[in-house]
Point group: C2
Amino acid sequence: MAPRSPKPLGPSLSRNGRPGSVTIKHVAQEAGVSVATVSRVLNEKGPVRETTRNRIREVAERLRYAPHGAARSLITNKTSTIGVLLPDIYGEFFSELIRGIDRASRQREYHLLVSSSHGDRRELEAVLRATRGRVDGLIVMSPDLDTQTLQANLPETLPVVLLNCRSDGAWFDSITIDNHGGAHAMVRHLVELGHRRIALVKGPAGNFDASERQRGYRDALRELPGGWSEELEFDGDFSEEGGYLAGTRILQLADRPTAVFSANDGMAIGVLLAVRDAGLRVPEDISVAGFDDIPISRFTVPPLSSVRVPIADLGAQAITRLLHTIDMENRHDRLRVTLGTTPVLRQSCAPPRLDERRARGTAPTGESIRTNNPPTAVGGRSTAGGPQTASEPTAGGSKRTGSGKELSGSPRRRGP
Amino acid sequence: MAPRSPKPLGPSLSRNGRPGSVTIKHVAQEAGVSVATVSRVLNEKGPVRETTRNRIREVAERLRYAPHGAARSLITNKTSTIGVLLPDIYGEFFSELIRGIDRASRQREYHLLVSSSHGDRRELEAVLRATRGRVDGLIVMSPDLDTQTLQANLPETLPVVLLNCRSDGAWFDSITIDNHGGAHAMVRHLVELGHRRIALVKGPAGNFDASERQRGYRDALRELPGGWSEELEFDGDFSEEGGYLAGTRILQLADRPTAVFSANDGMAIGVLLAVRDAGLRVPEDISVAGFDDIPISRFTVPPLSSVRVPIADLGAQAITRLLHTIDMENRHDRLRVTLGTTPVLRQSCAPPRLDERRARGTAPTGESIRTNNPPTAVGGRSTAGGPQTASEPTAGGSKRTGSGKELSGSPRRRGP
DNA sequence: GGGAACGATGTAAACGTTTACACTAAATTC
DNA sequence: GAATTTAGTGTAAACGTTTACATCGTTCCC
């Protein structure tokens, strides 16, 4: 590629004519030392005389020298980059996750090589192979993919953390959110409110999160005499549209359910819409609960009960673990962590109507409809502990003179 | 670092003992050819005998060889990676943008090095320098940052596309969305509905998008006899909370505005909430419009009028331009593109009450409150053309028997 | 049959770093 | 004052590729 040429390199002009790429050689030449010394100064390794050091620093600064990443990682075998493989689309969840990962990695001076969509398997393989020599580790989240492909296409030495995947038999580290526990707790809560006929809006088939949440739903209902029934489970695809469709179908059931648990918030919002379009009210006529607690859920009408997921934690922990593995050269044993999820109760859930409860014989424990819960702090993250009551702005039932003071949550800037 | 050792390298064990990293040498040795030949086969350059080629391919496959990215880019001076620098937090907008960029770049077999937050200037500088030898080009979006720092810390040869930045005097390419035009058109629409007293919820000070939208708002009002007035402009920060606060203050005005234009949808949702909490109704008592048309805006109550922004386009165009610049080695002239934005009308805007209009003397053109617009296709993206009527599911005013059939828009999966 | 042209392959230089090792001169130790 | 450490620096190998050039057979064309 490069023509063979004599030694003398122009002061800040590399041989191939493109200016601007000043190398360590230029710095060395300009400072009148060898490249080794420059390298030593810049990496603060080995002893260098004070005066020399200053001179080199000054020259480097003046020439705007920045080491060539590829060259460096070629020899050090470190890229200070970690790869992030994400499923096709993840909306709110996605951006929050990236944010968590980014923050944690920046702190440790690592870069992020992100790949957000990998449709078919061949594409995934291509991406995987392409990562060689580009990343020091990999964070993979692909709830509808098999880990086989991963295992086959990655060098065994590459540290990998699986996020929220079914990690069947794979020897990767994995960090998961407690989908099952969260769903179970939320449905359990609905049951405690007095609901017996609770519909489910499922997530996409084959999706790990979706199936775990379904499992949680079923297990919660299994504790009741009636158990669960397939006819109360409706297909969905994690989209608002899908939720709307499912909601519409649910409302057409002869014996209408008194509550709907949706496998994510997006679909739950679709259900809310369907209920409204059918001329019914939430939660008076039917309760609705979601999963994920995306930011907007506090602002739906009525505010949506949901299951809070520690998304940012998920990312941060993945990074921590990954970098730890990278540091300890030797492979330690496989990690499996499950992060707790927390039900957050808002106004979209209430006890079923009195008459319905009477008809079913579930004893009422208080007045018919709970409106405004007293603000209570949301803390902890245990799944085991029962659901908690949210302290966020409640725009629920009817009039409240909101002062705005109650607005809580981290002041995240969104938009533009 | 590596100990000097004799030539013979184990069949698939690199010298430093870490297995798994099989190099081109291993392949060459195994296939009984020189590395040059292997390289030629794998890159499909130069003539190689059919049989040799097959043998090499087979060996490479068997050994799971993947070229070392860093080594390759060291010599080719191409990384097939482009860097993406984003502002701290961008929620929906952010993920959509990444998605657009990712899709476009993957198609061209480019990787993405993402850096989403760069707080202070020193941090940004560090990130910028770190990109040397890691990326072939840069996409930068930082609506509240000066381009000076960029210019100072990047090699002149690096292709850069600025997204939605004030590109004062910089010689970078820049692609911008028509913030001014969109805001202008939306406010203009409110005016045509009969509104005269229109409040603004501003974005964060110093933010480019925010200030442009404010300018659009002012320019639209300037066309009226009254003009604009500072006392109708309220501080915001692009968050729902900020919108709620601003909304509350707006409603407390003695002479209450009949409409509110918010610099983004998040704040507009906050305003919706504030109105509801004050016991008033949208759009009967007050109209509300936002900006960005984030997915959720179709599902608020009532559905929010907003300005659609071609986010994915923004990303895709940036990539296209960038790669084009990379291909053409020589620098052509600076590009400045503005992408049109499209007002999308939903149920959150209606003519002001009859009595109010009479009091102000603005002639009513029809009946008092427009409820359901006939579904019309949303197309094109011209800002110049007037606002368009949305065809999305309307959950507005009161009961509608939604069939779900009207649900349109791309079937984006969200969640989980 | 003697080049010329070409096809197939190997050799080795480069890319920009880091770092083991060699070397010198000064400082320390005995 | 000699021996030994130590600080400061240079030399050159290595990292894993790509590719210009050299080499060696063939085949082709008069």
